[in-house]
């Protein structure tokens, strides 16, 4: 005989799960009892939100499915922000939640929350398991749905009696997946691929606009090959950073609200825009009517619902980015050159580089560039949300996919630190840094307890401006410097870290940055850096809300 809890754990193991992030409670006691002597590694977080973000960080950094576990009611509700974060960025995670026993469902029982109802709009799919005999199938389906097609979170709600009910030993056959309503398209339509190839061959001013979908599809190599062979400049979204090495001659960096001027100019003047795994988000397009106004648009995406959602496109290609790019590469003839377009792009790059003030003061851009230099392509960089995120996106040189994790779609403060914990388990040999703001870090600061307990070597670089910096920036620029509730009192983060037994360093002087970063790198366990940066430093350039992306403010002429 086997309990549902046992069947669950075996199901997870069959899917290749090694590490899960969770927090116990009443209705998941049977599951925790199984975990007690299971070979699955369970990381006890300090808040369920962190479990969801850690599973997400693990998934993004590994390309595999991340798993988190929480009890019913409050535990499940605490996962919600993490699930929504994963949903918006198409990250495959499985959220396992306990639920009150089936005979109490719908009774407002103690710690009952309708978590399948609550997460309906923020999961790719969810299940309320009513019978233990369905468990093997549901676990298998959940993983399949989470990782295929457009990846996303799947929640499985497990009433207590489903975990405790015993079933006869079944024969170890995994049921075949039967989902008549779920058939993700993999191969792109050949006619469309041919049309795209023709357009690329004819184009004079093409630009590739690559999003997180390129990374999700493991299509970076194909992207770079396309760019190189056809001489097509590539701009990436926030989620796409790392898909092409930052120092690749065809790379334009990020586009959009805090993108580079040259990326935004190139898109605006392009005659062919090749969108790959990107979704024309408003932070990218600015005023949508003036986005790539002269371009014919090719849109490659695994999700047909993204095609034409925000902007009409000329050549839609639905399917896996890697397979489609391979199809295109197989048909494209190698090009000799693409002048004068490339020289125009080079001119913009030289004339409007990303810059910052170098006046000996402690500025965040310097810290990020220094870290980038020290790591030299190694490491996984995770950010929080706000200025810290945009400075990192602009100034860190990402060289490989899955080395940059950030909450793009939902913009969740507090994502970074727990996601960094998850990233460590995905890439245990890489240094992992969370670049944080003092506001964001305090949203999941309790995870200092987790990294201390397991000696998870996450390094936190707090760009401490004692403000909710990004909001303050908007107040400065658009609300007449009325800093309404955006100032944060000073916190001695090193002391807090010390209380958890974690080392740290406070840095006020630009001359001490390198030493702090090197100390962090040389430390075996976690390490906290509290950088007291120029308080009113801003993120520039910037496209004001509702403007066209080539109407940037705060740009630089070299």
């Amino acid at each position: 005989m086997k309990t549902g809890a046992r069947i669950l754990i075996e199901g997870l193991q069959r899917e290749g799960v090694e590490t899960i992030f969770g927090y116990p409670g009443g209705v998941v006691l049977p599951i925790y009892d199984e975990l007690y002597d299971s070979s699955l590694q369970h990381i006890l977080v300090r808040h369920e939100q962190a479990a969801a973000h850690a599973a997400d960080g693990y998934a993004r950094a590994s390309g595999r499915v991340g798993v988190c576990l929480a009890t019913s009611g409050p535990g499940a509700c605490n996962l919600v922000t993490g699930i929504a974060t994963a949903y918006m960025d198409s990250v495959p995670i499985i959220a396992l939640t306990g639920q009150v026993p089936t005979n109490l469902l719908g009774n407002d029982a103690f710690q009952e929350a309708d978590i399948t109802g609550i997460t309906l709009p923020i999961t790719k799919h969810n299940y309320l398991v009513k019978q233990t005999k369905d468990l093997t199938r549901i676990i298998h389906e959940a993983f399949y749905i989470a990782r295929t097609g457009r990846p996303g979170p799947v929640l499985v709600d497990l009433p207590k009696d489903v975990s405790t009910t015993q079933l006869e030993e079944e024969t170890e056959t995994i049921p075949a997946i039967v989902l008549p309503g779920y058939k993700p398209t993999f191969k792109g339509h050949v006619k469309q691929i041919e049309r795209a190839v023709e357009l690329i061959e004819r184009a004079e001013r093409p630009v590739i606009y690559a999003g997180g979908g390129v990374i999700a599809a493991n299509a970076s190599a194909e992207l770079v090959e396309l760019a190189m062979r056809e001489f097509i400049p590539v701009t990436t979204t926030l989620m796409g950073l790392g898909a092409i090495p930052c120092d690749h001659p065809m790379n334009l960096g990020m586009l959009g609200m805090h993108g580079t001027e040259y990326a935004n100019y190139a898109v605006t003047e392009s005659d062919l825009l090749i969108a790959i795994g990107a979704r024309f988000d408003d932070r990218v397009t600015g005023r949508i009517q003036t986005f790539a106004p002269h371009a014919t648009i090719i849109h490659i995406d695994v999700d047909p619902a993204e095609i034409g959602k925000n902007k009409p496109v000329d050549v839609p290609i639905v399917g896996d980015a890697k397979a489609i790019l391979q199809g295109m590469l197989g048909r494209l003839k190698k090009r000799a050159e693409r002048e004068p377009w490339l020289s125009k792009v080079r001119y913009w790059k030289e004339k409007h580089p990303l810059r910052y003030r170098q006046d000996g003061k402690l500025r965040p851009q310097y810290i990020i560039r220094k870290l980038s230099e020290l790591l030299d392509g190694r490491g996984v960089i995770v950010s929080e949300v706000g200025q810290n995120q945009m400075w990192t996106a602009q100034h860190f040189c990402f060289r490989r996919p899955r080395s940059w994790l950030t909450s793009g779609g939902l913009g969740t403060m507090g994502y970074g630190f727990p996601a960094a914990m998850g990233a460590h388990f995905a890439q245990p040999n890489e240094p992992v840094f969370d670049i944080a703001g003092d506001g964001s870090f305090q949203m999941n600061i309790q995870e200092l307890g987790t990294v201390a307990a397991y000696n998870i070597p996450v390094k936190v670089a707090i760009l401490n401006n004692m403000y909710l910096g990004m909001v303050r920036q908007w107040q400065e620029l658009f609300y007449d410097r009325r800093y309404s509730y955006t100032e944060l009192p000073a916190v001695d983060f090193v002391k807090i870290a010390n209380a958890y037994g974690i080392d740290g360093m406070q840095v006020e002087d630009i001359g001490d940055v390198e030493e702090a970063l090197k100390t962090a790198l040389a430390t075996d366990g976690p390490f906290i850096m509290d950088f007291r940066i120029e308080r009113e430093e801003n993120v520039f350039p910037m496209v004001p809300a509702g403007a066209a992306i080539n109407e940037m403010i705060g740009g630089h002429e070299s």
Partner: protein
């Protein structure tokens, strides 16, 4: 912006209706009418939805519905030859001796059945397309409609064609 009739085949599973309706409200699509019931396939249900929107919105409705794992097939049958029916039950004032005869006469013109007779009211059952039911309702207004219950529209393709799951 015109009404579109969608025939949606779904898996017969708990929660599927709330997934479908939740999607409509969340994405700001307006449901004009909705009817759901079992169908020829034992494990499936068919939902007939009338939704108002422009072509772009309808394309999104279609794609977003298709993204739901439990939705098997979505067909916009607006511009196809279909037979459409709605059912309405109407409780209308019909005083014996005064209006009752007229109400019964109207009912017979509309091929509506009298399915209940009270001392001062009658209940009519009428099926037909929306226009017919609207017309009857309008005529009965003058006598005083006490209560009106209407199903959503259901529709089926004419001839041999069917809306079914592609296997």
């Amino acid at each position: 912006m015109k009404p579109h009739t969608l025939s949606v085949l779904v898996e017969n599973k708990a929660g599927v209706l709330s997934r479908v309706t939740g999607l409509f409200s969340r994405r700001g699509f307006n449901i004009e009418s909705l009817a759901v019931g079992t169908c020829e396939e034992p494990d499936m249900s068919r939902i007939t939805i009338v939704v108002i929107g422009d072509d772009r919105q309808l394309e999104q409705v279609d794609k977003q519905l298709n993204k739901l794992i439990d939705v098997i097939k979505v067909s916009d049958i607006t511009d196809t030859e279909t037979v459409e029916r709605e059912l309405a039950l109407i409780k209308v004032n019909a005083e014996p001796g005064t209006s009752r005869a007229e109400v019964m006469q109207i009912a017979s013109i509309f091929r509506a059945q009298i399915i209940d007779v009270g001392s001062r009211t009658v209940v009519l059952e009428v099926t037909g397309d929306s226009d017919k039911i609207n017309a009857l309702e309008k005529l009965l207004r003058q006598y005083g409609i006490k209560e009106l219950v209407r199903t959503g529209k259901i529709a089926i393709l004419r001839g041999a064609k069917v809306v079914k799951a592609s296997k």
